[in-house]
């Protein structure tokens, strides 16, 4: 019968064989891509030629030089787990993907997005060349023309309206180097209006966690979850949002027979694998956490020693928690007391326990308070700073952690130096520019509407506008926006237009802008809303896989990604576009002082070295490009659970994978990085640490420094403040500094060298000496159960702005109206009006939003990838079976979802399911391109429309902002649903 014809080429790699067999026929696009790599040319050489018409190079068949596949490693861009992508490249074309077995993070695995990422680069729906819109029509322009016109317009707008009138929206898909460069560019332009996606995903985490114990980041790692005996996943659905993390979660669950508890309003794919699922009403996280803590305190399950040694003001929390009796918790959240008691007992007693959260906790008007409550739960049970414990915060994009660290944020300079004078001066030194010159770049803000005027210096130290409300800053009356003028121009780099709430108002804001520039591999929603007829540019940026640079995963591991292929079509890297703009704006030379630039492309390694030179505060100082590359090369040497390489390895000996920050001192110091933050059971040199003494040494008579707790091998055996040259002198450690180090400290300190700290000492001497003494440079403090500088120092429950329980609003109102981030936040008025108008009756269903595994963020990239798009072709709303039956809605039919603001509505398909409870609906947030029932496909530049379009959930989402970070409320609003 049939047998396989075997002969000749068996044993050779498929690519070589394909190349050998290639003949000079015309090929279709995919065939071309796969095979032309084998022939010659490559995608970059294609330029903008219509792919269908391309003929592979003549040399193809004849010379048949079986090209050797080159293996290149980069990092998947679709979430923060940091999966290594292993690409096979032949002649500049990415022809195949192999499992990345060596990576300790993903061990060969990918999710749907990672396994399809090759198509992201090859997608024929990418924007191929710069475009601008002229009288409502897209026209192709050259890069030169685009950059010239854009910078001319920027300059004109700046001259007329000031630097703050331009918004610089960066991206969590930037590399660390691009993030840093973008923030630096913003500083040189003279504004703090520089933001990115962290605003809308984990800004509240960063604020809440940093305000509790020092740094706003995941304390442990994905891999370390394997050590946990109990895990609570609250407001997170890693099965869809971080699938590869589930490898560690489920393995840990199996190996330790761990308790896996999922607390969520929705029965998610993650919940399906939990041992215990707790269904809560959206927006009642604080009652539920306090409800758990109530049982903990009631039964004395708290870790008393830990609290005494390392926590400040836990008693303030006890007072608040006492109010949350099981009855009250059940009344507010719907969770029975018995169940929470079970959860409390497991979390407090079957240790180590870890808390995992995601945007279900953060995207609320009480986001920061939620996060704080979660941290306090860990503190109360002593579940921080040890393997298997901690707050494992799963972040969103590849490099959202890195972009946050590197200052794409309206409240800080790179690496959390803040906007204070000291921070500015620190970076001015690193950048080798005059502080005064930087200051001169900023606007003076005149007095307005009863507010005082601001000098340039004051404006330089004032947080900018949040990206969640950029359109309010365009549309609100000028005297409401606290800067020289409202926003006039948006520079959007790698950021969707459909990811912020209240889309109808965003569309209005778009129309009023004087200039809109979208720099992205795809046109994004901004291009498709038909809001603009002129002064709109699209710049094709290559994907992150076509760029060199480092990325910081959620666990703070920094991984070096190498350019897989040259930027496709006419696209360019972020580095190059920033460079070209700086050139036209006249500050390229200062901006790139000391950085190698070849063919207009700044060198990523040099940029990282500059970060290393200034990144003391967060321990971004030890990760040189060389060390990071060595890690990528030696991935297989790192342990799966401890993430550590064997000590005797010549290249990466003793290092934790990716040198997770803080990695203290200069690279030569070979600090291994910090796998688990605040881990006192290790020496600082081995990645140990304590809670950061960030908030002073004493408050109201109580010490803020740790008591009888210190990291292993510390010379100081009690709490201590952060180290400055002054402290050094008191301890006599200044003698340990070298002459060079001393000279640098003297130079920085000028007449007050004592103020030079571990974070501003450019010599790294203070950190080096600290390490030698076994102490951690940032001090040994207590974590704060009471964060007095926050609006709610101890978290209190507040009903959502659009509450489905108007009866609870009087007792648990949202915060009073106040001004934040240069604008009014009128949540209280909106909430009151909603209650008065009986909105909850007209819109009886709670609407929440979330993520699908196939798509990411605004979804433009992933919806343009046919391998992913095929799997989710329609925007939908999950409707409970009972709600559907009441409304005569059948599974799969179109329905209208109505929102309570702007008479907004969205036409989507119904998915009738019990994943959501009765009275709850859920929509994914990745769709756009349909608007209130209208298909906007024709408004995209021809051929650059994503494969799949659908209504954006944010068409019907509503008002509500966290007072600390301006985080939007996406998880609770109200809606009505009817058959279409």
């Amino acid at each position: 019968m049939l047998t396989k014809r075997r002969s000749g080429v068996a044993g050779r790699g498929s690519h070589q064989a394909l190349a050998a067999g290639l003949t000079a026929h015309t090929l279709d696009r995919r065939g071309f891509l796969r095979k032309s790599g084998l022939a010659a040319g490559g995608l970059a050489a294609l330029g903008t030629v219509r792919l269908g018409a391309v003929r592979p190079a003549q040399a193809a068949g004849s010379s048949a030089d079986p090209a050797q596949a080159v293996i290149r490693k980069n990092i998947c861009t679709h979430c923060s787990v940091g999966c290594t992508v292993t690409a096979e490249v032949v002649n500049g074309v990415w022809v195949g993907q192999e499992p990345s077995w060596a990576s300790p993070i993903n061990r060969g695995a990918h999710c749907a997005k990672g396994a399809a990422i090759r198509e992201l680069v090859h997608s024929d729906r990418r924007l191929r060349y710069p475009m601008k819109i002229v009288n409502g029509e897209w026209q192709r322009v050259s890069w030169e023309q685009a950059i010239t016109e854009i910078t001319d317009k920027l300059q004109a707008i700046r001259n007329k309206n000031g630097a703050d009138s331009v918004y610089w929206l960066g991206s969590a898909k930037f590399t660390n180097e691009a993030s840093y460069l973008f923030r630096k560019f913003g500083a040189f332009w003279g504004t703090n209006n520089v933001d990115h996606q962290a605003r809308i995903c984990h800004s509240t985490t960063v604020a809440g966690v940093a305000n509790t114990w020092g740094y706003g980041a995941q304390t442990n790692s994905y891999n370390d979850i394997r050590n946990a005996k109990t895990m609570i996943i609250l407001g997170g659905n890693p099965a869809e949002a971080h699938p590869v993390s589930m490898q560690h979660v489920l393995s840990g669950k199996e190996i330790n027979r761990a308790n896996m508890i999922v607390i969520d309003p929705r029965f998610t794919r993650t919940a399906a694998h939990a041992n215990e699922y707790v269904r809560i009403r959206s927006g009642t996280d604080i009652p539920v956490i306090w409800g758990i803590l109530w049982h903990v305190f009631q039964n004395g399950w708290e870790d008393k020693a830990f609290i005494a040694q390392r926590v400040y003001a836990m008693d303030d929390v006890r007072k608040e928690v006492a109010k949350w009796t099981p009855d009250e918790v059940e009344r507010v959240s719907g969770v029975p007391g018995e169940q929470l008691k079970r959860v409390a007992e497991l979390f407090a007693k079957e240790k180590p326990s870890t808390l995992i959260w995601c945007m279900g906790a953060t995207q609320h008007t009480v986001g920061t308070a939620n996060v704080r409550a979660l941290c306090i739960l860990c503190l109360a049970t002593g579940n921080v700073g040890k393997p298997g414990t901690g707050t494992n915060i799963f972040r969103g994009h590849t490099n959202v952690q890195g972009a946050t660290d590197l200052g794409l944020d309206v409240t800080t300079l790179p690496l959390y130096y803040g906007l204070v004078e000291g921070g500015w001066k620190h970076w001015a030194r690193v950048w080798d520019v005059e502080y005064d010159w930087l200051q001169s770049r900023f606007d003076e803000v005149p007095a307005s509407a009863g507010r005082k005027a601001r000098t340039r210096k004051e404006n330089m130290e004032t947080p900018g506008l949040t990206s969640t409300r950029w359109f309010d800053a365009v549309s609100l009356p000028a005297d409401q926006v606290d800067q020289r003028t409202p926003l006039k121009a948006m520079m959007v780099f790698g950021h969707g237009g459909n990811t912020v709430t209240r889309m109808p108002e965003a569309v209005k804001g778009m129309a009023e802008l004087e200039l809109l520039v979208v720099a992205d591999p795809h046109p994004t929603t901004f291009a498709a809303m038909d809001a603009r007829k002129d002064n709109t540019y699209l710049l094709p940026i290559c994907t992150s896989l076509e760029m060199d640079g480092s990325r910081t995963a959620s666990n703070r591991s920094i991984q070096w990604g190498e350019q897989v292929v040259k930027p496709a079509f006419e696209s360019k890297t972020d580095y190059e576009v920033i460079y070209r703009m700086a050139q036209k704006l006249g500050f390229a030379e200062t901006l790139f002082k000391g950085i190698k630039v070849v063919d207009n492309v700044p060198d990523a390694e040099d940029l990282l070295r500059e970060i290393n030179r200034g990144g003391w505060s967060t321990g971004y100082c030890g990760q040189s490009p060389e060390r990071l590359k060595a890690h990528m090369k030696n991935q297989h040497k790192f342990d799966l659970v401890t993430l550590r390489a064997p000590k005797d390895d010549p290249e990466v000996g003793g290092d934790y994978y990716g040198l997770p920050w803080p990695c203290w001192g200069k690279p030569e110091l070979k600090h291994p990085g910090t796998h688990i933050l605040y881990n006192t059971s290790l020496h600082v040199k081995e990645g140990g640490g304590t809670f950061r003494a960030r908030f002073g040494t004493e408050r109201n008579g109580a010490t803020l420094l740790a008591e009888d707790s210190f990291s292993l091998g510390s010379d100081l055996t009690d709490g201590y403040p952060e180290f400055t040259f002054g402290v050094f002198r008191k301890l006599g450690w200044d003698k340990d500094l070298t002459a060079d180090e001393l000279a640098t400290i003297q130079r920085i300190g000028g007449n007050n060298p004592d103020a030079v700290s571990w974070a501003t000492d450019l010599s790294g001497g203070i950190q080096r000496v600290c390490l030698d003494h076994g102490v951690i440079p940032f001090g040994n403090g207590k974590a704060r159960a009471n964060a007095w500088n926050l609006p709610d120092p101890v978290p209190v429950h507040r009903e959502p702005v659009y509450s489905p329980r108007p009866d609870l609003v009087a007792k648990y109102p949202t915060r009073l109206d106040e001004r934040q981030f240069r604008m009014p936040n009128v949540g209280f008025s909106v909430q009151k009006a909603a209650v008065d108008r009986g909105i909850a009756k007209q819109f009886p269903i709670i609407l929440s939003s979330g993520r699908l595994v196939e798509y990411e963020g605004g979804g433009e990239e992933t919806r343009s990838n046919p391998w992913l798009a095929e799997l989710q072709q329609d925007m939908f709303v999950e409707v409970n079976t009972a709600d559907a039956a009441e409304r005569g809605i059948k599974d799969g039919q179109f329905v209208w979802v109505y929102g309570p603001e702007n008479t907004a509505k969205a036409k989507v398909k119904a998915l009738v399911t019990d994943r959501v409870a009765k009275g709850v609906a859920w929509m994914p947030f990745h769709f756009s391109g349909w608007y209130q029932g209208k298909d906007m496909r024709d408004f995209y530049p021809k051929g650059a429309d994503p494969v799949v379009l659908g209504e954006s959930v944010n068409t019907v989402t509503t008002y509500g902002f966290d007072p600390v970070t301006g985080m939007q409320e996406t998880k609770v609003t109200l809606c009505q649903i009817s058959a279409a």
Partner: protein, 198 residues
């Protein structure tokens, strides 16, 4: 020779669809053809489980038996493959398959639905190993390169196992013993007339 099988550990499968897109990526599978797919059972209810399914490469495969032109063959690795040159697109394999594996390029009626396509266990087809012809008809041939199917290699949670039947059964057994539970090897009874005894 090894007896290759697939095993989806439903207690690990999270419906992430990596197996589906890995397959698309490896073989440039066009839109509309899904050699592998993930199905969620009891969706939204307690006890929900997802299972990734493709051709199971059955023992004594029904598709092969019913084929009126005998276009199927079983490789030394016990992978069930077919020849598109011989296939007449009659649809009998598709009636017989317990797992819905056979797919056709055209949909609507059997007038001329075209040649059947299905999972090849990443081991190509009757053409010369690693040739262009093999790639265009059947996709790539990882087995010939000493690799396993990409769907299983890339599975996010190591739920989908591929390899010698006894070895993967052993892995599964150890897992079940370690964690104390397991909902069984989905489809094994139907495909291989056996279950994994634990």
């Amino acid at each position: 020779m090894a007896r290759m099988k697939f095993l989806c550990d439903a207690d690990r499968c999270i419906e992430c669809n990596a197996c589906v897109t890995a397959c698309k990526n490896e073989h440039e599978v066009p839109w509309g053809i899904n050699r592998r797919r993930v199905i969620t059972l009891n969706d939204g209810k307690p006890g929900e489980r997802s299972v990734s399914m493709a051709c199971m490469h059955c023992t004594d495969a029904p598709c092969a038996a019913v084929c009126p032109v005998n276009c199927f063959y079983t490789t030394a690795d016990a992978v069930v493959l077919h020849s598109k040159d011989l296939c007449i697109g009659c649809g009998y394999c598709f009636y017989a398959c317990p797992f819905g594996a056979p797919q056709y390029p055209r949909v609507g009626n059997f007038g001329s639905r075209g040649k059947m396509d299905k999972c090849t266990y990443c081991s190509g087809g009757p053409e010369v190993d690693l040739s262009v012809a093999e790639y265009e008809k059947y996709g790539s041939n990882r087995l010939a390169e000493g690799k396993l199917p990409l769907c299983a290699e890339m599975c996010s949670t190591k739920s989908l196992l591929a390899g010698d039947g006894e070895m993967i059964a052993q892995i599964y057994k150890e897992r079940v013993i370690k964690r104390g539970y397991g909902s069984g090897a989905w489809g094994w009874k139907t495909a291989y007339r056996e279950t994994i005894a634990i």
